[in-house]
Amino acid sequence: MRLQYATNIRIVEMTCSGNIDHRVILNAFEEGADGVFVAGCMEGDCHFLKGNIRARKRVNAVKKLLDEIGIGGDRLEMYNLSSAQGGRFAEIANDITAKIKDLGPNPLFKNSSCCGCSCSKEGGDQ
């Protein structure tokens, strides 16, 4: 299956969505990401039993923090899908890209031509 999805998605692999940490998400925004989407396994299918349930709780906590600090919790979302759902992944990747495009660039880098890193691209990543 060779599916196309938005090319500005950067994938950060983790051993389990339950391993997602507030710091990883905040770091993504500080480094220039315009949005973050956490992909966890289907609820009830976690190999570690509750990893994805815990991930969602943590994502909700970070969304609240993002609202408080001015980035906006809307820029962070979590989805549940299995590793066999390639089509669904591509669909979500495109949906979240469209949503973040509507929200505009990361407010931390709104007035800069680049995400602040050493790369040469225009704007940030999702």
Binding site: H22, L26, F29, E30, L65, E68, I69, G70, L108
Partner: protein
């Protein structure tokens, strides 16, 4: 352990709004266990503060470090080099740690936490108050359940008339400590011990006479 909770990030940011370089100092003691001021929380707070300040057009540089304990001079002295260039220090310790840092460093030291109580974990993420630090423990008389802090009235000869179906009259979510004490003593076959009338408690060992001090001359060095 001491249970503390983080203040709102906006409140903390306001305390250091005029500082360009801030040291956030965590504590690896109680506040790490109650997930409010350990290494992880310190780094999260630093990131949140940097983001907030950058959005305000007033960027701040942060230094993070987690001390073994902030309530011990030897670990506080070890922070000399860490906070050297900082305009202000944000302490993610209990009120004790904040005061130790303020005594040691001639800098603006602010608290990131509200120190709540002495307690323990019920389940992961839930902590309960268990000790009133009265300085005159009576747990041997009450089956290991503290009437000083767990009874809303701190009475020594309970229960009072506000105990209904095992709950305290202040809230249906609060157990009546004296019901718990009665049940516990009954299960231990020691109900007869509850028949003894407890005289008024000696509160001179509590907050009478200002801040308390404990001295152990046998372990003092020098």
């Amino acid at each position: 352990m001491i249970i503390a909770q983080q203040k709102q990030i906006k409140e903390i940011a306001a305390m250091v709004s005029d500082c360009k370089k801030v040291a956030l100092i965590g504590c690896a003691g109680c506040v790490t266990v109650c997930l409010s001021g350990g290494e992880k929380e310190t780094e999260i707070m630093a990131a949140a503060l940097r983001i907030m300040r950058k959005l305000e057009g007033n960027p701040v540089e942060t230094i993070t470090f987690t001390a073994t304990r902030q309530c011990d001079p030897e670990y506080v002295e070890a922070l000399d080099g860490v906070v050297k260039d900082a305009d202000a220090i944000i302490s993610l310790a209990c009120g004790v740690g904040v005061q130790y840092l303020a005594e040691r460093f001639d800098k603006w030291v602010v608290p990131a936490l509200d120190t709540n109580f002495i307690g323990g974990s019920k389940v992961h993420g839930v902590w309960e108050e268990k000790c009133g630090m009265c300085g005159d423990c009576v747990l041997h008389k009450t089956g290991g359940i503290c009437p000083i802090i767990r009874c809303s009235k701190s009475i020594l000869n309970g229960p009072c008339g506000g105990s209904q179906y095992g709950k305290c009259e202040i809230s249906k979510d609060v157990d009546c400590a004296w019901q718990l004490i009665y049940d516990r003593m009954k299960s231990l076959g020691k109900l007869d011990k509850l028949m003894a009338i407890q005289p008024p408690k000696d509160w001179t060992k509590s907050r009478d006479g200002g801040p308390r001090r404990a001295v152990r001359e046998d372990v003092m060095i020098g």
